[in-house]
Structure formats: structure tokens, C-alpha cells
């Protein structure tokens, strides 16, 4: 079988400020309904990566704000518990978030107009994608490149790829499955909990999985 190589790219993001802000839960849910998919993606997948050296209680900016600014811990926990692997698109993730908040608002209507300590500012990002010099033709190449590639490249292929491929998979798994027929390894990489590991830890986990795959 002819193998398609894996071209490693890297990306950098410029954060765009939308000028939209929510001061209450009601305003947050209204903005969630009409903000861009890019804004949802930014606040759920991208912004916390700027703090990739530490693990915080909530990965989603929305849950974080509801916890720290509104002190609505029940809702923050429910929102924080949404498992991104259950969704195949930003649209379905958006709908689920809106449903969780609106259910909470029906139960506790008074918290809808409570002012947060600080507003929630909606952002989105513009990505500049660049090719790197690294190309993998085999699992061995893949291992060696993952060992030394910058964490932004890992972020691009593992996390940003979800915008292109659907949020349940990533570039690495797609290539391993379709080009190297390594379905087991592809699934293991899809199963990495991207929220509870730093990017360096994720690099180590991928290396460990690839090593184990090569030994079998």
C-alpha cells in the first residue's frame, strides 16, 4: 500500500476582540446564541492553552467565568462536565451549552440577572498556518518528529484540527488510521483527555502510545 506522508504544520493565533460582553448569565446565553462558531471554539478549546503549563479547575472560559465571576458553582460544574467527545460539531456543542444554561435559568430564574464581578468578553481568533520542515513517512519518523516538534504544532494537529475534521478526532489519528492502518493507535490518541494534561504531558503520552504500538 502506498503511504501518504504526514506533513507537520504549525499555527499561531492572533486573538480578535469582538467588542461584545456579557455582564449577566442571561446576557451570556443570548450572546452564546449569536456569537460565531470561532468564538465558541476559542473559549472552549484555545484560550486555556495559553495557560498550558498548569491545569485549572475548568477548561472552558464559560464555566470558569460562571464559577469565579458569578459564583454559580452548580452551573459551572454542569457546564464543565460536558464531554467534548460527545459532540461532532461546534454547533452541537453550542446547543448543549445553551440547553444546560437555560435549564439552570428555568430552575433558578433570579440568577439570570445577577451581575458578575467582571464581564465576560467574547473573543475569537485568526489563525496563521505555516508548514514546518518535518514530514513523517512511517511510525518511526512520526515518533522522532513528535519528540522534537514545538508544542504549537501538537496543538494545531491535535486540537485546532477539530474545527476542520469534527471535534471527535484529530490530524494524527486521521493519518494513522487512513495511511498506516493503525486504528488502535488512532483511537488511543483520540482518547487522550486534552483538558487534564499540559501540552508537554500530551507529547509524552503520544510518544508512549507510539512506542507501545511499535513494540507490538
Amino acid at each position: 500500500m502506498e503511504v501518504n506522508p504526514f506533513y507537520f504544520f504549525t499555527s499561531s493565533n492572533l486573538v480578535e476582540l469582538t467588542g461584545e460582553k456579557a455582564k449577566t448569565l442571561k446576557e451570556l446565553v443570548d450572546l452564546l446564541k449569536r456569537c460565531t462558531g470561532s468564538a465558541i471554539f476559542y473559549h472552549v478549546f484555545q484560550s486555556y492553552r495559553e495557560r498550558h503549563f498548569a491545569i485549572e479547575k475548568y477548561h472552558s472560559d464559560f464555566a470558569q467565568w460562571i464559577s469565579t465571576s458569578l459564583d454559580e458553582e452548580i452551573l459551572a460544574e454542569k457546564l464543565g462536565a460536558l464531554d467534548i467527545r460527545d459532540f461532532t460539531s461546534i454547533r452541537s456543542l453550542r446547543e448543549a451549552m445553551i440547553q444546560v444554561i437555560e435549564t439552570h435559568l428555568q430552575r433558578y430564574p433570579r440568577c439570570g440577572s445577577q451581575l458578575g464581578k467582571t464581564p465576560f468578553f467574547f473573543c475569537q481568533s485568526v489563525s496563521v498556518v505555516m508548514p514546518t520542515k518535518y514530514i513523517a513517512w512511517s511510525l518511526e519518523d512520526f515518533y522522532q518528529i513528535i519528540e522534537k516538534i514545538g508544542v504549537r504544532s501538537i496543538h494545531y494537529h491535535l486540537i485546532e484540527a477539530r474545527l476542520r475534521l469534527g471535534i471527535h478526532t484529530n490530524d494524527f489519528s486521521y493519518w494513522l488510521r487512513t495511511s498506516l492502518s493503525r486504528d488502535r493507535l488512532a483511537k488511543r490518541i483520540e482518547g487522550i483527555d486534552i483538558y487534564f494534561h499540559t501540552l508537554e504531558e500530551i507529547r509524552s503520552i503520544i510518544l508512549q502510545y507510539v512506542q507501545e504500538e511499535m513494540e507490538t
Binding site: 492572533l14 461584545e20 485549572e56 467582571t118 485568526v126 496563521v128 498556518v129 505555516m130 514546518t132 504549537r152
Partner: protein, 409 residues
């Protein structure tokens, strides 16, 4: 201008990061940039430009720097506009607008505008945009000021000019406005190799303390900032006094002046009066060339404060965090962007809160150390000059591809 080269940063940010900067600059080689601000020395903007411009030049993007020239009346007006953008009352008289316009027009008569990108810093030179029709350049307005609650009349006046730019750059999401042009988040930055931030020998730190007559016999709390009411130096003294009832410590208030700030001396007098009679309060007036002394004071400190009432960004927070120091900062301006509560520092909202956190962190050194360590990592990720350089390279690429969300180079 700084003489450090990109390769000098490799040991701090890694080879990959430097390689990515070179990749981002590849398609911009030969494009020319002009930066315009209001002061060549003193203040964070001049410091950043001093370090950033040589790096842009090294990457093959010729960049020049122009400082707007004006008389005392011009800088008094711009200082008032600055304070009004922070929310202070001001009614712009026709004469004020006239001086503001005249100075810009006079400067523009001698300004070469044949660059590809022109970045105007802060309100002083904002009217340069009137010359947009003379150029093919893309124009960006880089606002370093906290404009979350501006004086309405002044903002309305400036907004008419902001809207003519191709992009606006703000230091915090809090400063964003509903504008018809794209707005981007642009944190300012510190230089880990500058005299203000590089590693120092312990002997040198001791010498500086000795020279400034600051004994090391008790914990040292330090606020480094200009003597400016918006930095609340008197509030810092009050917080220190409240904390000192429980834990003995020294307070160092150290700062310099900037050539565009005529109010500094008045505020310094107020601070000296407030501190009178307490030998544990050290008021240190430093000339703009005192970077090594500031570095030494921060490194000698057990705790860094930035208790501003309003703040553009508050780079002293990043400076303290880079030195792995616990930082207590007000939740204003760009400070919350640097201090993730209880992860990279502590945010406070009052003098009483500041006093409480001083007591807490001085009695819990293990927690203070952890905050400092995370703070250092966060600064490495977000607030170093190399990250600022990356943002400018991204901006220039984005300005060449208006309306695109994903740009493939």
C-alpha cells in the same frame, strides 16, 4: 536601541519558537514598518519599542521609530486626554482640539509615510491617520491605555479617528469597544535579557540595597511605578501600615518619571508627606537609566505590589512574575490579564484587601513560592518580547489578508 539578537533568546524560549518567528517573517521580508509614539525614554511603550524594533529589522522587516514633537501645551493637553480616557472629567475646548490638530499636522509635514505598515501608539499621535490618503500603508492604532470607562466626550472625539484605521490593538479584552474595524488583543511585553529583567549576581543586589540604605532585616514589599495618582502610592502606604500591625516588614516605593508626565513632582510630595516619620518606608526616586536598580529591588523583594487605580497594562506585574515573585495587583486595566487569581498571583479590590493579602502571603511562603513559579511560566508564554514580536508578525500577515479567519502561508 538594544543590541540583542534573536538567537540570544533561544536559551529562554527554545529553538522552535525562534524558528516559528523566522517562518512568520518570511513573507514579510522587505516590507517596511513605522512606529510612532510620544516619548523616546521612560514608560513601558518606549521600553518595548527599544527592544522590538531591532528584532523586526533583524528579521528583514525595516522598521523605523518616530517620536511626535510638541510643546509643553501639547503634552499638557495629551496628559489630560490620557487621564480622561481613564475616566477623569474633561471638557475639550476648541483651543485644545486646535493645538492637538496643529501639532500632528506640523509633525506630518516632515514625516515620511511610504511604509507598508504604520503603527500609531496611544492618543498623542492618533491624528496622523489624517494622512492615510497620502499612503498605501495599512494603519493600526495601538492603544496602551485602559479605556474601559473613558470620558464620553473625549472618546467620541478620538473615536472619529480610530474608525479610520485598519485595525485597533488593545492590551486587554476589557478595553475593547464596538468598532467597525477589527480589534486584536496585544499584550505588551518585557525583555528577559534587558537590564531590568536579566539575572543578577546576589552581590550586586546587596550593593544596590546598601546604596539605597534598605536593610535586609525584614521582609521587603515593593511597588515600582511612576509617582502618579493612578498608581495609588498613598493607598500602598496605607495597606502596608495595616499589614505591619501583624507582621513586621519594609515598604519600598520606587519609580522614575517620564518626559510626557508633568504631574510627577506633585504626587511625589504627597507620598513623602504620607510616609514621613516611618524609617521602614523607603521612597526611592530613580532616573530613567535605573533599570539595574529596579531589577535588583524586585529581586530583593519578598512581595511585589501593583495597587493601581487605573492601569494601561502594568508591566511591573510581569516583571515581578518573571523573577518568580508573588505579586498582589489591583483588578484594573491589564493586571487581571497577568494575574490569574490564585494561580499566577492575587487580585485585590481595596486597600484592606491588599493589606490582608500582604499578611497572608508573608505568612505562607510555600503558597507565595508556587504563585511565583506559575507566574514565571505564564510570563514566558504570554508576555515576553518574543511573543510581542510574534503578535506583530501575525498582525502584518493578517492585515495583508483582510477578512480571512485561517491564513495559510
Amino acid at each position: 536601541m538594544s543590541s540583542t539578537s534573536l538567537a540570544d533568546y533561544e536559551s529562554i524560549v527554545g529553538k522552535q519558537t525562534i524558528g516559528e518567528l523566522q517562518l512568520l517573517a518570511e513573507g514579510l521580508k522587505g516590507r517596511r514598518v513605522k512606529m510612532v509614539n510620544s516619548t523616546a525614554v521612560g514608560g513601558g511603550v518606549a521600553e518595548i519599542l527599544n527592544r522590538l524594533i531591532p528584532l523586526l529589522n533583524e528579521l528583514g522587516i525595516p522598521t523605523d521609530w518616530e517620536v511626535i514633537r510638541g510643546g509643553e501645551d501639547f503634552f499638557e493637553i495629551t496628559k489630560k486626554i490620557h487621564n480622561a480616557l481613564h475616566g477623569e472629567p474633561l471638557s475639550l475646548t476648541p483651543r485644545m482640539k486646535e493645538v492637538f490638530l496643529e501639532v500632528s499636522r506640523e509633525n506630518l509635514r516632515y514625516t515620511n509615510l511610504d511604509q507598508d505598515f504604520i503603527v500609531i501608539h496611544d492618543p498623542q499621535p492618533i491624528l496622523y491617520i489624517e494622512a492615510k490618503d497620502r499612503t498605501a500603508a495599512k494603519w493600526a492604532w495601538r492603544c496602551h491605555i485602559d479605556i474601559s470607562n473613558p470620558n464620553g466626550e473625549v472618546w467620541e472625539f478620538l473615536n472619529g479617528y480610530v474608525e479610520k484605521y485598519d485595525a485597533a490593538l488593545f492590551s486587554s479584552p476589557r478595553f475593547s469597544k464596538r468598532l467597525p474595524i477589527p480589534q486584536y488583543l496585544f499584550f505588551p511585553s518585557i525583555d528577559p535579557l534587558s537590564d531590568k529583567n536579566r539575572n543578577l549576581e546576589p552581590e550586586f543586589i546587596d550593593q544596590v540595597l546598601e546604596r539605597l540604605h534598605i536593610p535586609k532585616d525584614k521582609p521587603i514589599i515593593t511597588q515600582i511605578s511612576r509617582f502618579d495618582r493612578l498608581k495609588d502610592p498613598v493607598g500602598v502606604i496605607k495597606a502596608y501600615r495595616m499589614a505591619k500591625r501583624y507582621i513586621d516588614c519594609r515598604l519600598v516605593l520606587a519609580g522614575g518619571g517620564a518626559s510626557d508626565d508633568p504631574e510627577g513632582e506633585v504626587v511625589l510630595d504627597e507620598v513623602l508627606t504620607e510616609a514621613k516619620g516611618d524609617p521602614d518606608i523607603h521612597i526611592v526616586l530613580l532616573p530613567p537609566t535605573s533599570s539595574l536598580e529596579i531589577n535588583a529591588l524586585q529581586r530583593a523583594s519578598d512581595l511585589i505590589l501593583q495597587k493601581s487605580i487605573r492601569e494601561g497594562f502594568g508591566l511591573t506585574v510581569a516583571e515581578g512574575l518573571w523573577k518568580r515573585k508573588p505579586v498582589i495587583g489591583s483588578a484594573v486595566g491589564g493586571i487581571p490579564a497577568q494575574i490569574i487569581p490564585n494561580l499566577t498571583g492575587v487580585l485585590v479590590y481595596s486597600i484592606e484587601g491588599t493589606a490582608f493579602q500582604i499578611r497572608y502571603l508573608l505568612t505562607h511562603p510555600d503558597i507565595a513560592k508556587k504563585l511565583g513559579e506559575y507566574g514565571h511560566e505564564y510570563v514566558k508564554e504570554e508576555f515576553l518580547i518574543t511573543r510581542n514580536l510574534r503578535r506583530y508578525l501575525l498582525l502584518f500577515n493578517v492585515l495583508l489578508h483582510p477578512g480571512e479567519r485561517i491564513i495559510h502561508l
